[in-house]
């Protein structure tokens, strides 16, 4: 009898040890997901209590929602969102540009964003151009059910000729004025990056040591995932899988522009949302461009903005486009699925794709 009770005791002790071991395996990792900016926002916070992490994540999501309401460039036709979305500050500015030709009073936040976006646009020699909203609408990308059934070549030509450029805008005394009535601002390629920087600023001020924030594919890292760096996968442009992975260290950001994110097919051809402002047509020579941004004050914005000029330029000029914005780590996947990658970017990534692992179809360049 004594033997049996001891045996029971041993088994119970064992179960307790197993339970502790399994519990120790559960990490202090909080994960939240939500839909803002018309895309998926994903926040991971490591090393905080679930309650604290959840409060922080909710605050960030609320701030993002606020930013979205101020900056979105078109009306969302979902019934329950119409009320808040009906007139953002940006839509008011765009309406004023095309109708009144008078300076418009804007908030300090929008003044700052527009002056930053203007500086980046000028630095990129106009390849990053948030003033081509009319072209983007013509191609049907400023709506949820995007795409067109017929290409309006005449209108596209007229819009290219009107040459809307960020340098047509002047910002003075809290007012914005455009000398070109064809300007329609769309901060779709900037706002998510700005939001990343905002979230990092907030989390660092709250003494958070470890977090990873992903807004629609653009990611920025704070600290690391426990004892290991945060690890991110890079989406394969044609398969539902990652093509490579890399460690994203504290303060680094990564962004990709791809022809697979928003596109439509017409007569067997792919038309993506990234439009060359010089031709007015969607870019068709590139599948994806990924940029990796070292720690700096606006790493998030750069991760969002910098992939676009490199995407738009033809292969021989891609390195020039990268240089204009000071980008040294980048990777291009062209229309034939060949890879062009800077040597220092190649050192950072680990291919998952067998073909690229053997460096087949990979061309290395010195930034």
């Amino acid at each position: 009898m004594r033997k049996k009770s001891l045996l029971t005791l041993a088994i119970l002790a064992l179960m307790a040890i197993t339970a502790i071991a399994i519990n120790a395996n559960k990490e202090p990792l909080y994960h939240a997901q939500s839909y803002v900016f018309g895309t998926l926002v994903d926040i991971s916070i490591y090393g905080e209590s679930d309650a604290h992490a959840s409060a922080l994540a909710n605050q960030i999501l609320q701030d993002f929602q606020q930013l979205h309401h101020q900056l979105h460039a078109w009306k969302n036709n979902l019934g329950h969102q119409t009320r808040q979305d009906s007139a953002s500050e940006l839509i008011r500015v765009n309406t004023a540009f095309s109708t009144s030709h008078q300076p418009v009073k804007i908030s300090p936040l929008l003044t700052k964003l527009l002056s930053d976006a203007q500086a980046l646009s000028i630095r990129s020699e106009g390849l990053f151009n948030p003033a081509i909203g009319h072209l983007i609408s013509t191609w049907g990308f400023q709506q949820d059910n995007f795409g067109v059934s017929k290409i309006d070549a005449e209108q596209i030509q007229a819009l290219v000729k009107a040459n809307p450029s960020m340098s047509d805008i002047s910002l003075q005394n809290g007012e914005v004025y455009s000398k070109n009535p064809w300007i329609k601002l769309d901060l779709g390629g900037y706002a998510k990056g700005y939001a990343l920087d905002l979230a990092v600023q907030f989390l660092r001020a709250q003494q958070v040591q470890h977090a990873l924030i992903n807004i629609g594919g653009n990611i920025i890292a704070i600290g690391q995932h426990g004892s290991k760096p945060w690890r991110v996968g890079i989406q394969h442009p044609r398969q539902p899988a990652a093509i490579a992975t890399l460690d994203l260290h504290d303060g680094w950001a990564i962004g990709t522009s791809g022809d697979y994110q928003r596109y439509f097919m017409l007569d067997g051809k792919r038309y993506c949302h990234i439009i060359d402002p010089r031709t007015g047509y969607p870019v068709q020579h590139t599948q994806a461009v990924t940029v990796l941004i070292p720690p700096q004050p606006h790493a998030g914005v750069l991760s969002d903005v910098a992939s676009k000029p490199i995407f738009i330029e033809t292969e021989d000029k891609k390195s020039h486009a990268a240089e204009l914005l000071g980008i040294t780590h980048y990777m291009v996947i062209d229309q034939n699925a060949n890879v062009l990658i800077t040597k220092n970017m190649a050192q950072k990534i680990e291919w998952l794709d067998e073909k690229f692992k053997r460096n087949a179809h990979v061309k290395f360049i010195t930034p």
């Binding site: 033997k3 001891l6 045996l7 041993a10 088994i11 064992l14 040890i17 197993t18 071991a21 399994i22 939240a32 997901q33 939500s34 839909y35 018309g38 895309t39 998926l40 994903d42 991971s44 999501l61 979902l78 949820d144 059910n145 995007f146 795409g147 990873l212 992903n214 629609g216 594919g217 653009n218 990611i219 995932h225 945060w230 690890r231 991110v232 996968g233 890079i234 989406q235 539902p240 899988a241 990652a242 992975t245 990564i254 962004g255 990709t256 791809g258 994110q261 439509f264 990924t290 998952l352």
Partner: protein
């Protein structure tokens, strides 16, 4: 047969506390090692999210369809022998359906208009977040 039973019963009775401890601890160590070392790339579960909530986590070891009422309509997710996909969606572009079958841990498919997402979960997550 009864002889065999009788003999094993005899062995059982001869075992002492120490023997039992060794047996149970060995079993425990095997169990723990199995848990930590036995990893496969293939996913075992799928986590389905609707908006900002986890809708459910399902084993991939079954055949079933799951209908989810999303923001704009009903998405249908099919699970079949270790794979999962969006099989029907109310969205305009049908990107989620075109993603096809997902099998490996870490793979994900998202329907932005309907705010439904799938993520495959395995023993080892190959990355924390996906850049796209």
């Amino acid at each position: 047969m009864s002889n065999l039973l009788h003999r094993s019963k005899a062995i059982y009775q001869q075992l002492r506390i120490g023997d039992w401890l060794i047996i149970t601890f060995s079993l425990a160590i095997i169990f723990l090692l199995f848990q930590t070392l036995w990893t496969t790339e293939r996913a075992t579960k799928v986590q389905v999210r609707l908006s900002d909530k986890i809708y459910g986590t399902y084993s991939l070891n079954q055949n079933r369809d799951i209908s989810i009422q999303g923001v704009i309509g009903t998405s249908v997710i099919s699970i079949a022998q270790g794979k999962v996909r969006f099989s029907k969606s109310p969205c305009h572009n049908q990107y989620c359906v075109h993603q096809g079958w997902l099998v490996r841990a870490g793979q994900a498919a998202i329907c932005l208009p309907n705010q439904v997402s799938l993520e495959l979960i395995g023993e080892n997550k190959p990355y924390d977040s996906l850049n796209y």
